[in-house]
C-alpha cells in the first residue's frame, strides 16, 4: 500500500491545478500543503532561494516516513508543519541568513494597484522584519498561531510542547513582536518626516 493520507482533514490553504491527475498520498499531501509549507518556511527565516528545495525535503521526508496517518493526535497540516519546523531550524542554524527582500517583492508583484502594492510591500516587510526580531521558539509559535491560524493545541502538537508552554511563548512573542512593530513604524515615520512626507 502506498503511503497515503488517511482520514485527512482537508486544508483549503492550497488550490490544485492538477486535480485530474491520479495522486499518491504524497502528491495529495503536497498539493494540499506545499504552499502552506513554503510560506511557513519563509516566515521561519528560510531564505527564498532555499524554500523550494526545503519544501521538497519536507515532503520527501513525509513520504519516507510512510505518509500521514491520523491517529487522533495530529492533523496532516500539523504533522507537516512539525517536520518543516525541524528542517527550518536546522537550516537556519546552518545558514544564518537574513531574509531576502526579493521574496516580498515577488509576493506583491501580483497586486494590480502600484500604490497598494507599495503599501502591501511595506506591511509584509515590516512583519518579516518583526519576525526576524524573535528567537526561534517564539517565532515558531507566533507564526503558527497568529499568521497561519493554528490553534494552541495544534501549535503544541507541532512543537511537541504542552499547550501552556505555547501560551506562555505566545505571550512573550506578542510582546516582542509588538515592540518591534512599534519601532518599525516609528522608524518609518522618521524616514517620512526626513523626506518631507506628511
Amino acid at each position: 500500500m502506498s503511503p497515503a493520507v488517511k482520514n485527512r482533514r482537508g486544508s483549503a490553504h492550497e488550490g490544485s491545478e492538477e486535480a485530474d491527475v491520479p495522486t499518491s498520498g504524497a502528491e495529495e499531501l503536497f498539493r494540499d500543503h506545499a504552499g502552506f509549507v513554503a510560506s511557513l518556511l519563509h516566515r521561519l527565516g528560510v531564505a527564498a532561494p532555499d524554500v523550494p528545495d526545503l519544501v521538497q525535503e519536507v515532503f520527501l521526508l513525509t513520504h519516507r516516513k510512510g505518509g500521514f496517518e491520523n491517529r487522533g493526535t495530529a492533523q496532516p497540516r500539523t504533522w507537516v508543519a512539525a517536520i518543516a519546523l525541524r528542517l527550518a531550524a536546522s537550516h537556519r542554524r546552518r545558514r544564518r541568513e537574513t531574509p531576502n527582500p526579493n521574496v516580498v517583492e515577488s509576493a506583491v508583484s501580483q497586486i494590480p494597484s502600484p500604490a497598494f502594492a507599495v503599501d502591501m510591500r511595506e506591511s509584509l516587510e515590516r512583519v518579516q522584519s518583526c519576525l526576524d526580531s524573535l528567537d526561534e521558539e517564539h517565532r515558531a509559535v507566533f507564526v503558527l498561531f497568529e499568521i497561519e491560524g493554528f490553534t494552541g493545541a495544534e501549535v503544541a502538537a507541532a512543537l511537541e510542547v504542552p499547550v501552556g508552554t505555547v501560551h506562555s511563548r505566545l505571550h512573550h512573542a506578542r510582546r516582542r513582536f509588538s515592540e518591534a512593530h512599534a519601532r518599525a513604524l516609528s522608524a518609518c515615520g522618521e524616514q517620512e518626516e526626513a523626506s518631507g512626507v506628511d
Partner: protein, 258 residues
C-alpha cells in the same frame, strides 16, 4: 485547559496597523509553484521501492506524528536520518559488490510496525553495520575506470547519527551542504561540482551520497563537460539504476548518445 487567546489580527485592542500588517501577512504567503514542485517530487519519488511502503505506513506515520517523548529536534533529525538510510538501502538494493545480504530495513522508520517509542529506545549494538553501502567516488578525471563501488568498512551512519551528538551534527551538516549544493547546481555549477566532490570526501558514509553524486553529474553537464558527465552518470546508473535521481541522470546520459 486554558483557552486560546484571541488572535492579534482579530483583537480590536491591538493597534490598527499591527492588525492590518498581520492580516496582509496571513493573506499573502510566499509565491510557490505547486505544479513545478509536484513534478520535482514525482521525479524524486519516482517508482522507487519506497512508494511500495514495504511494511505499511502505520509505523512511519506514527514516527512522524512524533511521540511526545521525542521532543528534541536533534533526535527527530536523527530519526529522520534513520528513515533516509532505510530508503537508500532499499533503493540501492541488489549491489553485487556488497557482500552483506540486502534485506529490507525492517527497523527503519517508514516500514517498521513498531511505535516511535520503540524506535527511539532501540539500542544500537545489535544493528548490522555491515550494511553500510555508501562509498566515496573518485575525483572527476578523464579516466572512466574509477569506481564508486568500493565499499569501505565503516560504522553505520545511523549509528553515528543516533548514537552521538556529533553524529547528529554530521547529519545536519550534510543536509545543509546538500541544500547548498542544490542551490548552486543551476547557478554556479563549478562551485556545485567542487562542493559535491568535497561532500563525497567529507561524508563517505553519508546519507545523501546518491543525491550528491547525481548533482555532481548535473553540474558537470551544466559546465559543458559532457564526456565526464556521461561517464560519471553511467557509473551512477550502474550503481543506482532505480534510485530516485536515476531519471535525471539518465537524461544527461541519454543526451550524450548519438
Amino acid at each position: 485547559m486554558s483557552t486560546d487567546p484571541r488572535r492579534l489580527l482579530e483583537d480590536l485592542s491591538a493597534p490598527q496597523t499591527l492588525r492590518n500588517d498581520l492580516v496582509r501577512a496571513a493573506d499573502h504567503g510566499i509565491p510557490f509553484d505547486v505544479a513545478a514542485g509536484l513534478g520535482r517530487l514525482r521525479d524524486a519519488i519516482g517508482t522507487g521501492p519506497t512508494s511500495g511502503g514495504s511494511g505499511g505506513g502505520a509505523g512511519g506515520g506514527a514516527a512522524g506524528q512524533g511521540a511526545s517523548t521525542a521532543a528534541k529536534a536533534m533526535l527527530a533529525v536523527s530519526l529522520a536520518a534513520g528513515v533516509v538510510v532505510g530508503v537508500i538501502w532499499l533503493v540501492t538494493g541488489g549491489d553485487a559488490e556488497d557482500s552483506a545480504p540486502v534485506d529490507p530495513p525492517a527497523h527503519a522508520g517508514p516500514s517498521s510496525p513498531l511505535p516511535p517509542e520503540a524506535h527511539e529506545e532501540r539500542t544500537r549494538p545489535g544493528h548490522d553495520q555491515s550494511r553500510q553501502r555508501f562509498v566515496e567516488p573518485q575525483p572527476e578525471s578523464p579516466d572512466p575506470s574509477p569506481s564508486i563501488s568500493s565499499v569501505p568498512a565503516a560504522p553505520s551512519p545511523r549509528s553515528a547519527a543516533r548514537g552521538s551528538p556529533s553524529g547528529a551534527n554530521d547529519v545536519q551538516r550534510e543536509i545543509a551542504q546538500l541544500a547548498e549544493l542544490r542551490r548552486l547546481v543551476s547557478r554556479d555549477p563549478a562551485r556545485a561540482l567542487v562542493l559535491a566532490n568535497a561532500g563525497q570526501r567529507e561524508f563517505p558514509q553519508g546519507l545523501f551520497m546518491q543525491e550528491r553524486e547525481a548533482h555532481a553529474v548535473l553540474a558537470l553537464e551544466a559546465l559543458g563537460r559532457h564526456a565526464e558527465a556521461t561517464r560519471r552518470g553511467r557509473r551512477f546508473l550502474a550503481r543506482w539504476p532505480e534510485g530516485p535521481q536515476a531519471v535525471r541522470v539518465q537524461r544527461v546520459v541519454e543526451a550524450e548518445m548519438p
